[in-house]
């Protein structure tokens, strides 16, 4: 007999604290689709995605019913399209984007990631064409998500690509002006991008992955927050931070196990490989589903104030440790996301003036992802955006971790005004960029920032 307390504790995570499987992401290798004929390429992509993902929706519904765990999103990640369509013109890349947009809608998937180029050490003509068409792709498709990996610890940082991406962001924002530059929310610029990240917008099916794989993104900021709150409220003495870390670890264990179970079951039913479970605390704008609220439960009442970085470091580390004990298949990003507009507590801290861009950058040194879902003034020049990207990628490259930038220069709006992206993307007050406009010469040097000494490990 299962202990009633255990049953009710697990049920409570779902029922009261919003534990869910945030995404079941099917990774599909599209390299076998390559063809010099663009129509053939698109036909092959359509056939291959339909073959693998045709039953994804149905199977997810079955598994959801079997375990009573909500599966919020079903998504597809494909091989970096820069390589799949390497021999094609810009028009060819656009045709592939439109095909992806259509076919994932047909199989009942809300987003597809992998309109991607990996240019950390240099770029091919195909990579460059893909990056150049990004503004059009991001503004004319609904479901296509893009990413560009511009740096790795092994290769250094491609400043030529970063320089171009500053202009891409400006263009994509302008083309989606009526939606506060929302096109930029579908573009992630990475350092040390993981090959198996299931979370959008940065998911792609990396080199070295099998034909088809199921990766899982579990979330659960609400569960972790509830656990910390219970500990603080009910402990006979004020718990130490070590005790809080232990509580987060054991909660992360349970959350990870839920993800692995769902992932293995979906993969088994579809007859494909199970890949990884990514235990990332991914917030939504709903109150109670916030990473910021976890830090507040730990005692940091003013998010962005002193203590925020240390608390986030503790949280991120404890989550990873709990996940690592739970499963040998933990991958992706597996940490805490500080996606500002998507996190009601972080957005409120920006509004109150407590949380600044500089503090966010510091916080990203100790957690997963990076400067995520941050609205900045629309008149920010492209080079300043590029320099901001370079700063964030440098943090990842030097520290052997993933960092990323998903930043939105909101057209026609200034710091202090509100940007509204809607739905799970939330809203926030536009953050000013301190000392903007002085980085142009640095960015225009171009070239590559060499790989750090710590990359020479062989």
């Amino acid at each position: 007999m299962h202990r009633t307390e255990d049953v009710l504790a697990t049920l409570g995570m779902v029922r009261q604290h919003k534990l869910d499987v945030r995404t079941v992401t099917m990774g599909v290798d599209l390299y076998p689709c390559a063809s010099p004929d663009i129509n053939e390429l698109c036909d092959r992509i359509r056939a291959r995605l339909t073959k693998y993902a045709g039953r994804l929706r149905e199977v997810c519904v079955e598994v959801e019913g079997r375990y009573g765990i909500p599966i919020v999103n079903r998504r597809i990640a494909v091989s970096p399209i820069a390589g799949v369509a390497a021999c094609h013109t810009s028009e060819g890349y656009l045709a592939v984007a439109r095909t992806l947009d259509e076919v994932v809608a047909e199989v009942g998937v809300d987003l597809v990631g992998g309109f991607t180029a990996l240019v950390q050490k240099g770029w091919t003509d195909g990579d460059r064409r893909l990056i150049e068409v990004l503004p059009e792709v991001l503004s004319t498709t609904k479901r296509v998500c893009a990413s560009v990996n511009v740096g790795t610890t092994a290769a250094g940082i491609n400043m030529d690509a970063i320089s171009l991406l500053g202009h891409v962001l400006k263009d994509a924002a302008e083309r989606t002006r009526s939606h506060d530059g929302f096109g930029c929310a579908k573009l992630v610029i990475f350092g040390n991008a993981p090959n198996d990240n299931p979370f959008m917008a940065g998911a792609f099916h990396g080199v070295g992955e099998p034909d088809c794989v199921i990766n899982i993104g579990v979330s659960g900021p609400g569960v972790v927050k509830a656990a910390v709150e219970d500990l603080v409220r009910n402990a006979p003495l004020r718990p130490t931070l070590g005790e809080i870390a232990e509580e987060i670890k054991s909660t992360a264990f349970r959350v990870t196990r839920v993800g692995e179970l769902i992932g293995r079951e979906v993969a088994a039913r579809l007859g494909v490989a199970f890949g990884i479970v990514d235990l990332s605390l991914a917030p939504t704008p709903q109150v109670g589903d916030s990473v910021g609220e976890i830090l507040q439960a730990m005692g940091v009442k003013r998010l962005g104030g002193p203590g925020s970085t240390a608390a986030l470091a503790l949280l991120n580390d404890a989550v990873k440790k709990g996940g690592a004990f739970a499963s040998s298949s933990v991958g992706g990003l597996s940490g805490a996301f500080v996606a500002v507009s998507e996190d009601s507590a972080l957005a409120a801290a920006v509004e109150s003036g407590d949380l600044t861009l500089a503090k966010l950058e510091a916080m990203t040194a100790v957690c997963s992802v990076g400067l995520d879902m941050i609205a900045v003034p629309g008149d920010t020049d492209a080079e300043t955006l590029s320099a901001l990207i370079a700063d964030e990628v440098a943090i990842g490259v030097i520290n052997h971790k993933t960092t990323a930038v998903r930043i939105i220069p909101v057209p026609g709006k200034a710091a202090g005004e509100r940007a509204v992206f809607g739905g799970l993307f939330g809203e926030m007050i536009i953050l000013p960029i301190h000392a903007a406009g002085g980085s142009t010469d640095f960015v225009r040097h171009g070239g590559r920032i060499p790989a750090p000494l710590s990359s020479l490990r062989n």
Binding site: V7, G68, L261
Partner: protein
């Protein structure tokens, strides 16, 4: 060998298990399986034992009462078949059914009725009322052609107007979140007696 099932109920005191199993041993029996619980101050035990010779259940019953006289035991003994009938649901899977909400007279009766109509076999159940709050957790085998969603809908229909919420979840979710071994998928056991683990 001859098999008997013994049930004993009494106000909870230290030493009842010792007394009952001692009598079984003294009468020549060997305990095969035993389950005991205490609920609201009352002790209850069910045990299965085998004996080399056939005996009159009333004799064993009287012996247990007599040796446990100070505990004021209520005892019942029945003779069981050596090879019990197979489980009513032989190909089903084990699910955990949870019902939470307001306490009402007839909650358990109504829930059990929903399940019986659909061929669901309850194998373990714990329910309690804490003031106005009712909670029930049971393990049950669902026939293979019955979806957990259908059971949940039936329970929710019953609970509508009574302030009850129902959840039907495969037991693997609870194994995954409470055990440290490898995560299991598929059926963990295909009968109440079995324990086959599907590879993954």
């Amino acid at each position: 060998m001859y098999n008997y099932v013994v049930t004993v109920t009494a106000a909870d005191r230290v030493g009842i298990v010792h007394s009952v199993t001692g009598t079984v041993r003294d009468e020549g029996g060997n305990v095969l399986e035993l389950s005991q619980t205490v609920m609201r101050g009352f002790f209850t035990i069910i045990l299965a034992a085998e004996f080399p010779e056939r005996l009159d259940p009333r004799v064993l019953e009287a012996a247990i009462i007599e040796k446990g006289r100070k505990y004021k035991l209520t005892v019942a003994v029945i003779e069981a078949e050596a090879n019990p009938a197979p489980s009513p649901v032989v190909n089903g899977e084990r699910f955990i059914l949870t019902v939470l909400g307001n306490d009402n007279p007839g909650n358990i009766h109504g829930i059990a009725g929903c399940l019986a109509e659909r061929g669901v076999n309850i194998v373990d159940l714990h329910a309690r009322a804490d003031g106005p709050i009712f909670s029930l957790v049971m393990e049950a085998f669902l026939p293979q052609d019955l979806s957990p969603g259908d059971v949940r809908v039936a329970l929710e229909n019953f609970g509508k107007g009574l302030g009850l919420e129902a959840f039907v979840q495969h037991e693997n979710i609870f194994l995954a979140t409470t055990e440290t071994g490898p995560v299991r998928v598929g059926a963990t056991s295909n009968s109440p007696e079995g324990a086959a683990v599907a590879p993954h």
